[in-house]
Symmetry: C2
Subunit: 351 residues, 2 copies
């Protein structure tokens, strides 16, 4: 006789009704309840509610952009957001950096047994809000549960699908001598917020993560500047330094940054000095680097500044034909130093 038909099983042990159990990942009744009570009310839409083996959605145009990211940030909640915000913003921003409009998202959850439901609910709520803001719907998902001690609270994978505009294809190989290097907002906030939360550090002014959806900024740039936008990159893991190194290498150009122009907030600078970090390598989750043709600089800055997350957009450097592949930082004293790619991890598990 099966466990199910014995009628003797109490699937949820007393006192455990407020947290995730192994059975929630079984594909049985508890999994169905988790879906019905927690995921569907917040993510519900016509596509997801079918609950088939796969979602069926209209294909947007002739080509699609596809991006995937797993999120393992620690801690799960931090000043300015939680893993749910990152899981949506990280993937929709990757699509936006290709010039694509994010449309569909999948969500795969790996939950640790014992995860409190109220924390899970806050994460789902954050995902739901961020998805609405970004104009994407969660079309399909999956939940697995592992035993206590076999994961760290929760991990989330999101995969995004976006609509491409054949006339707007920014890409890392397109930077040219004389282009301007712009950044859409202050540098270093996300990494410092995570580090402070992790180490329980208190600064005079709390630094909040910049986690935000960049798609509206990109849509603005597309409408205003079109092909004058050469490359877009969101400087997450590895920070602004790594993003610019990748562009310099892919395009075979040099990049010269002006130290005095870098928008590094005072509290970020202070925290980085204390922690021995270089803000150029600290992760961001709500800013982008834009390489823009010289005659489009003012229009691009103006377009970004129309959005809250772009209101302090500014120019930080110039693309050069000299020293191809290298990123150089010119300091206030007129000296230059190479801003190399990071060999290993400065801050692990930042997203």
């Amino acid at each position: 006789m099966s466990i199910a038909s014995s009628g003797l099983t109490c699937p949820v042990p007393a006192g455990e009704a407020d947290r995730v159990l192994l059975g929630h990942g079984s594909g049985g009744k508890l999994s169905a309840a988790l879906l019905r009570e927690r995921f569907l009310p917040r993510f519900g839409n016509e596509v997801l509610s079918v609950l088939g083996d796969a979602a069926v959605v209209p294909a947007p145009g002739e080509e699609i952009a596809v991006s995937t990211d797993s999120f393992v940030v620690s801690p799960l909640e931090f000043p300015g957001g939680n893993i749910g915000h990152l899981a949506v913003h990280g993937t929709v921003n990757d699509l936006a950096m290709m010039g694509a409009d994010p449309l569909y998202l999948t969500a795969g959850f790996i939950l640790e047994e014992g995860l409190p439901f109220d924390l899970l609910d806050r994460v789902i709520e954050a995902m739901s809000e961020s998805a609405s803001e970004a104009g994407v719907i969660v079309v399909t998902g999956d939940t697995k549960v592992v035993e206590r001690g076999k994961a760290d609270g929760m991990f989330i994978n999101t995969t995004g699908i976006g609509r491409l505009d054949p006339r707007f294809r920014p890409g890392p190989t397109r930077a040219r001598d004389g282009d301007a290097v712009l950044v859409s907002g202050p540098i270093g906030r996300h990494g410092v917020a995570i580090m402070a939360a992790r180490e329980d550090l208190r600064f005079e002014v709390e630094v909040e993560s910049d986690t935000a959806c960049l798609a509206p900024l990109v849509q603005g740039l597309r409408a205003t500047c079109g092909p004058a936008i050469r490359c877009l990159r969101d400087p997450t893991r590895g920070g602004v330094a790594s993003a610019l190194n990748e562009i310099a290498a892919s395009s075979g150009v040099g990049i010269r940054l002006e130290e005095g122009e870098l928008p590094i907030p005072g509290p970020v600078r202070g925290a980085c000095e204390m922690l021995g970090l270089d803000p150029l390598y600290v992760a961001n989750e709500g800013i982008m680097v834009a390489i823009v043709a010289p005659d489009a600089v003012e229009a691009a800055l103006e377009a970004m500044r129309k959005h809250t997350s772009g209101e302090s957009a500014t120019r930080i450097g110039t693309v050069t034909a000299e020293r191809p592949g290298l990123v150089l930082l010119r300091t206030g004293l007129g000296a230059s130093r190479v801003v190399d790619m990071l060999p290993g991890d400065q801050l692990p598990r930042i997203c």
Copy 2:
């Protein structure tokens, strides 16, 4: 001065060159090396090699099928396969069950610090082989690393995108009174193989996982029987019992199974008796349940039997108008018992 520009860092500690380090998830040089040395040689294709923030692929037709799954199987390797086989088969099979041809796959890896590279290589190799067999390409991916003790070796998420045929849409609501219930192969092998590996049990005859790609079987059914194929379902977590319960509920029909017709291999039956499991609830990773119109039964069985993984395809029951929503098993003695949906987990972390 940044860590990177100090020139003093040895990113890979001596004696650790054969395993995953936290730095491999940093987005820096070690991440790039991991990608270049391990992932690209096995997954490489024109789309993936661009390494943009997102992949750009042609949209197949007017509608697409999208499926996502995270894999947390323990142990990572087991008789008949490893987590890499499951990560490809699981997602392409979900697409196939919608009647779709799998085309593109994304791969998100969460690696535990210390994971041996040779194990990672075997998993990537398995994914590469399985993807080739299934006719899919890995178009984009992501790797994160968490500290020792914060994951269990590795977790993999795959998301698949498939081409839909507007004239072939099997679905769980389409079962009708009089339809036949077919199964494409022996029941219960995957779950028993995992359980035996986990508990280090030895049986007289080793049971191997059935992990396999079902897309060719579905393509055969589509070509031979078309719309006479009402529903397809791969009975993974929760087994054949859960898959049939979902169909019975979605279609508002009853399902009657004949115990004597269930293709349960002797070693699976023996292992289940020893472990106190019901084979109908044990996970499978390479078989499907097909609900087929009465006049297409022979053609469907013949089509499935042309493929290695379908060679023992057989009929196990009938859809009925009686007892809608219920799955009943008629035993050899003529008695019937209800085969309910499982409340919690019979075997956790089976995929």
